[in-house]
């Protein structure tokens, strides 16, 4: 029983990671109608930025975390202004190939710069084991879960209460109408992208003390995040988050009880199963984020 | 004899009933117009009939045969042709190839015929090319036969789409706003083309906003409002029908 609970906690950690990454992907698709195949690389770069700030520069954990998130936001901003803005008016083939190409460039670039050896970023929290009701859980895992929930709450507040957030919601429903009433569509796209990148980087900051950083980590993550986005109903952020936790739990339990080697296939299998039964995703075709 | 018979057709989108239990019959050789204010469900009805949308309830019969919910390509194969509200052509193909594409599925019999270019296939192909040229001449695009469709003006594309829909010689032609977004000269041309079709015995059902066109060429007019049929009759009667006036101008 303890074993099952422990796997469940692991599943929640995984789910938090996937949820933060998937939320960014869903946000981008919902607001800007773009699938970013290089999204996982934001996580990867965030992880390396965090590693550098924390291990190499010796900054304290929170500072290093904020620094990494900030750097990635800036990177997302720059990427939006250069590449995204150019491919947004094009057909989706162009968008897909362009972002896939970006992914390949960044991944291999990371190999050249950082090498293929994974970087470890242990913190005090990841080595502190808490005993809760007979379970032994690394403190970091709790931090991940709590932080993720706080971030999602923050996101929800932002999207429903703030002016910018409401503009984002409007844009996700009807882009043309927004342009007509004077909403700065370009600016919204920029902000959405920066938030997406920050979410991915934030995930890396929280999770890399538990899972190492290596150049290829982004590819599989993009795939699983996408599986979550599809499963939850395209462009529906809350659906993506829910689906992410589902996938995280399924993967963790499968890894523990079925087969560790094939755990990465779980996300894909969940996605295909859901699509065969409910092609519009678990939560149907919701308009907006 | 009823060529197209629609009974109780209903289609709902996200809580809105776009088409609400509509009955509509079109007899062979008729020229019927479907009118109504924006959002009254005209194009949705078209889409349900031609297989681009699946009705939630009701029945569509063509030549007495039930085609409700059949996929679009199958309905096209049965002999219903259509044009689209936002004109569609194959921009990369030239005008001639656009037309040929619309005929080929109606000429195929079996796999072998598709793989081997026999003399018979060559003859069929030649006949198709001749028909295409003829139709291009009818709509006045004969000299643009080898021009890529993407280079044609909007009005020319409408004519091309019209000719393409005619290629397989459909028994029923559904035209979605043939007079929209084109200049008056083109409108007159369109009217003439449709009248010519009617004289040749073809059955036409058209959706149209341009009242002059509707009143001018229709035998019968059907009026939709908020998805429901509210009136039906000859153009003169419809023009004076208080319910129709209410629908268009009422609060």
């Amino acid at each position: 029983m303890d074993d099952l609970l422990e796997q469940a906690v692991h599943g929640l950690t995984l789910g938090s990671l996937y949820a933060m990454v998937a939320a960014g992907l869903a946000l981008m698709f919902g607001v800007v109608r773009l699938i970013n195949f290089a999204h996982g690389e934001f996580y990867m770069l965030g992880g390396y930025a965090f590693w550098y700030a924390y291990r190499e520069l010796g900054l304290p954990y929170p500072v290093a975390g904020l620094a990494a998130t900030g750097v990635l936001s800036a990177f997302g901003w720059a990427y939006e202004r250069t590449v995204i803005r150019t491919i947004l008016p094009r057909t989706w083939h162009v968008q897909l190939i362009a972002t896939l190409a970006t992914s390949i460039t960044l991944t291999n670039g990371a190999i050249l710069v950082f090498g293929t050896q994974p970087k470890e970023v242990p913190t005090r929290l990841s080595s502190t084991i808490l005993e809760i009701g007979g379970l032994r859980i690394a403190a970091q895992r709790l931090v991940v879960l709590i932080a993720a929930l706080l971030i999602f709450a923050g996101l929800e507040w932002f999207v429903t209460r703030s002016k910018l957030g409401r503009a984002m919601r409007a844009m996700s429903q009807n882009r043309e109408a927004c342009a007509v009433v004077g909403v700065d569509v370009q600016q919204i796209a920029l902000v959405t992208f920066a938030i997406s990148a920050a979410l991915a980087a934030g995930a890396a900051v929280l999770v890399s003390p538990l899972f190492n950083i290596f150049p290829d980590v982004g590819a599989l993550l993009t795939l699983k995040a996408f599986a979550a986005v599809i499963t939850g109903g395209f462009g529906y952020v809350k659906g993506a988050i829910a689906a992410s936790f589902l996938i995280g739990l399924a993967e963790s339990l499968a890894a523990g009880y079925v087969s560790y080697a094939y755990k990465d296939a779980i996300a894909f299998i969940v996605m295909v199963l859901v699509l065969l039964v409910r092609p519009q995703g678990l939560f149907g075709r919701r308009i907006g984020i | 004899m009823a060529l197209l018979e629609i009974r109780g057709l209903t289609k709902r989108f996200l809580g809105v009933t776009a088409v609400d239990a509509v009955d509509l019959t079109v007899d062979v050789g008729e020229l019927v117009s479907l009118i109504g204010p924006n959002g009254s469900g005209k194009t949705t009805l078209f889409n349900c009939v031609t297989g681009f949308a699946a009705p939630d309830a009701g029945r569509v019969a063509f030549r007495g045969r039930d085609v409700t919910g059949a996929p679009a390509h199958r309905i096209a194969r049965l002999g219903i042709g259509r044009t689209f509200q936002l004109v569609r052509v194959f921009p990369r193909l030239n005008a001639l190839d656009n037309l040929l594409t619309f005929l080929q599925q109606h000429q195929e019999e079996n796999v072998a015929a598709r793989l081997v270019r026999t003399a018979r296939m060559r003859r069929l192909e030649a006949a198709a090319v001749e028909r295409a040229h003829h139709l291009l001449g009818t709509v006045g695009l004969r000299d643009r036969a080898s021009a890529p469709a993407g280079s044609l003006s909007y009005g020319q594309r409408k004519l091309l789409a019209f000719a393409a829909a005619l290629m397989p010689d459909p028994d029923l032609l559904l035209l979605d706003e043939p007079a929209a977004a084109v200049n008056p000269t083109m409108i007159n041309q369109m009217k003439e083309q449709i009248r010519a079709l009617h004289r040749a015995g073809k059955t036409v059902l058209l959706v149209e906003h341009n009242m002059d066109v509707v009143m001018d060429i229709s035998e019968r007019v059907v009026v939709l409002d908020h998805g429901q049929k509210i009136a039906e009759g000859p153009p003169g009667a419809i023009r004076r029908d208080p319910r129709v006036i209410e629908a268009y101008f009422g609060a």
């Binding site: 590449v83 150019t86 491919i87 094009r90 989706w92 083939h93 162009v94 897909l96 190939i97 362009a98 896939l100 190409a101 390949i104 460039t105 291999n108 670039g109 190999i111 050249l112 590819a219 795939l223 599986a227 599809i230 109903g233 395209f234 462009g235 080697a261 094939y262 296939a265 996300a267 295909v272 699509l275 065969l276 409910r278 092609p279 519009q280 075709r285 | 889409n47 031609t50 681009f52 699946a54 996929p71 679009a72 390509h73 096209a76 259509r82 689209f84 936002l86 194959f90 921009p91 990369r92 193909l93 190839d97 594409t101 619309f102 080929q104 599925q105 109606h106 598709r114 469709a149 993407g150």
Partner: protein, 333 residues
Amino acid sequence: MRSARRAFGALALVAVPWIVAAVVPGQERYVLHVLIFTALYAALALSYDLVVGHVGSLSLAHPAFFGIGAYTAALLGTEARWPFAVALPAAIIAAGLAALVIGVPMFRLTEHSFAMGTLGFAVVMQIVATNWVDFTRGPLCVTGIPKPAVGALRVATLPAFYWTALGALALVVLLYRGLTTFRLGRAFHAVRDDETLAAAAAIDPLKYRMLAFAIGGALAGGIGTLYVSYVGVLCPGELAVSLTVNLLVMVFLGGVGSLRGVLIGAAAFTALPEILRMAPTWRMVIYGLLLLVIVIRWPDGVGTMFSKGASTASSEPPPRDGLRRRSRRSNAV
């Protein structure tokens, strides 16, 4: 005149081994090796272009079919000791069947989901190949794959392999041309350019997408067979996503949907890195950047810039009037 030039060209291609031996003695093995790889990749790129360029399905699953064909042939050749003449068709059928089976759920998805779904399939195939060690030997690789042999005829020397690869390429070219011209070609292109309009023209989009997908997959499986027969060894890394990226580079650099374009793209992107002896990581960085620049600047591929009749409306998407392909269930994404 044209047929004379063609005959001369064909003759020159066949005579390459001797030409190479004469022009660069001592380098023969290397040059022939590069040419064999180029021919195989060109054939693979053409099989991919059928799906991506002609019917417009942006599938990322090609490495999976290549791998399924390769593993089928490799295992039949080593474990079951089936002769090549039987293993090759078996591999082609296996890959084609896999394409049909995976195509059914995949083609219910639209656009982005289809791309991601096929990518997921490719990734899962690689995971299976890596981890199902009992069957595929996993990272230990299948070794000792026999060279192609039909009866007494064994393809053992490099020149013989070159001719085999060239022959395979020629067959694929013929098939490609047959499939992309006249009625079938028009049907494919109609589905690619405007699925809704194609349906109005009585063309069944699903049927033609499945057809292109299955044929493309089957061909990939066949080329996979030739590839492993040449290399002699098969590792799970051959199914990596980078193969898709390579294929996309070849197809988009050369010209999507253009025979000459794809051939040029394949030649450029197989021969060049081999000749320049690029390290794989650097190659991928450069490919990535190149692909990014190319697809933004020339969405239809560089090759079509030069092809006659390139219409300004070539990349024009169909009107956004909400008419999409109906899936069998309700509104799919």
